[in-house]
Subunit: 422 residues, 2 copies
Amino acid sequence: MALVVMKFGGTSVADTDRIRNVARHIKRETDAGNQVAVVVSAMAGTTNQLVAWTKGAAGESVVEPREYDAVVATGEQVTAGLLAITLQAMGIAARSWCGWQIPIVTTDAHCSARIAGIDGAAIKSCLATGEVAVVTGFQGIEPDGQRIATLGRGGSDTSAVAIAVAIEADVCDIYTDVDGVYTTDPRMVPKAQRLAKVSYEEMLEMASLGSKVLQTRSVELAMTNGMRVRVLSSFAEPESLEPVKKGAWPEIGTIVCDEEEIVEHQTVSGIAYAKDEAKITILRVDDKPGVAARIFGPLAEANINVDMIVQNVTADGAHTDMTFTVPASELPRSLKVLNAARQEIGDFQVASSADVAKVSIIGIGMRSHAGVAARMFAALSEKGINIIAITTSEIKISVLIDAAYTELAVRTLHSTYGLDAE
Amino acid sequence: MALVVMKFGGTSVADTDRIRNVARHIKRETDAGNQVAVVVSAMAGTTNQLVAWTKGAAGESVVEPREYDAVVATGEQVTAGLLAITLQAMGIAARSWCGWQIPIVTTDAHCSARIAGIDGAAIKSCLATGEVAVVTGFQGIEPDGQRIATLGRGGSDTSAVAIAVAIEADVCDIYTDVDGVYTTDPRMVPKAQRLAKVSYEEMLEMASLGSKVLQTRSVELAMTNGMRVRVLSSFAEPESLEPVKKGAWPEIGTIVCDEEEIVEHQTVSGIAYAKDEAKITILRVDDKPGVAARIFGPLAEANINVDMIVQNVTADGAHTDMTFTVPASELPRSLKVLNAARQEIGDFQVASSADVAKVSIIGIGMRSHAGVAARMFAALSEKGINIIAITTSEIKISVLIDAAYTELAVRTLHSTYGLDAE
């Protein structure tokens, strides 16, 4: 008998028919004698509707975060109740749990709270009676026990992993609308392949570099606690999958695990891309000590996340050009902040473009292989793709390119590193 | 400075525009220096949608009441949050309160729980800081603090009165889509008049006899605790109304209060009607002791509410005919129960019809006036309306008639007792 956490996202619970399908997935596990805790998101579209209402209510004002949380948290409460009812109708004992009932204690950073701690006792004794615990994802309660707090969009993955850790589950299964983690986006590259296993570190890079399969925080949490996560499809016929077995669950979907569990590493295991980047170039600013601080200080204060930074000295040696990226949605605000800081920065010209994309290669194997970067640059150069900026970490290399070349770059790199399916 | 509870129903908060209108009503009161607690229903249509989903989830099975409550209670939580956001956007300090946060403790009869007790302390200290407390109607939490329980449809009126009692409010204002309590349904009788005041007892009879302005339980609670309730329209221009003044609030809408506050009583103050009745006649059952118990016992066990009962002995003296009413929705089930009890009751024939209506006259003044009933029967007889059954209480007389005559009967009685507007 295994202890399993199953998480279902918004598209998997979009209506009562799909909720019934989810219930069949759960039945497969309980029929096999497993104890099951389920974490659910709001029905697809619900959260957007609720958010739109809060904006409508606030008008020109900012929505108060605590009230935002009170409103938006209802989405998961509805799904949890409906799934419990569906399970009961199938003869499976079940009850719904709101975050505050467990409790899932969060920080008081409303709208983007972090989980501070989960008391697993109530859920565990619920499971011990043979009851399925259906838990609202994405939410918890402030430390003082008063107000509901949400984890921010996509937080349900994090809730699932945190609950799996709290109740010492054998595995945390994340059901989504894809059947695993791919070497790259299959909609862009038909030859993309599903990865049977991927390490936490690689998954973390993929998540933060634009892959939408798992939320970054959930991968961090899984890595910290050594919780095995499987990514699999809720749209697979429930009865066609094998139930979890303690210690040796079936290798379906993609298993996210410690790198030591992965025997042979590919040099590069995945290609990620992100189109929601914008590039800002500050031209001909005086090349004096502290200029970077004077540029990036005000942006940091304005809470704008600067990503790739490239600095070049101009031909005259007295000036420097500085290029960096920000989220495309923050471009107008970034330019405003820079203009306001013109006095401190000194005179400069500015050029910007939202027409750029970041393409990244990711792989644990990179650490032990030389020449991975050189091969990347050569492959892109052969296709005439100009690199605007480069950043690297131990297990990933990202380049900024003209957005029009995104697909060409991703396909080229996918075959360069031998990832194409045959 | 007065302490005011304001309650707004589903049509008054149906969208963000209407919620803004509600906020203006509240602003009128806070501008006048009043402390305000608000009780809200779910946005019109929301509860029906949520209930439909629970039914969809349950399929052929019965919806588990605790999960039903968890799902349906979200409707009010959304409205409370949205109203708090709207108030804040208007510069008015406000926060939303769920039933479990106050807490409003209920019995554990899920779906139709009664309020067991409210701790007014949290709300009172919230109000003392000048903050408006926006409370979810219709719900509370079980005594053990675990599961959400709802009060049943229309329970928000009861929540409002209970909160008014708990925080010792000066008045409980119920805002609805009509501007007060009328002598009868104005859609049926254009000459119906708004009552400036009505006693708890009369309001109670009106509520249980089909007037939909206030929920019966809320009137009971107000009467028990001597809480003054005003019924007024949320669609009135908020600024056109006078704010509440301590001890002498403006006489707008209808004030529901102790009969002693009403100086001159009309003999009859209102005419009510209900079309959702069905009549069952048991023909030629043996006229022996205990026959009534044998008929009504099984119905009571099946939780079917029997209302008007008439018994006649037949011409041969050995048999009796028994006529009574049940809610129209319960007619098929009632007939089934009676057939199942045929052995105990003895042989009988049965006739039934859902084509009947109950018309009632209500008035505190009836107690001190003779001949009120005789005048009623004469007026109906003059119009050729046949009376099938009669029931009376100290302050009301109800007759059961053919449904086709409902409007004629109501109009006739409305002018018989001098209630027509000039």
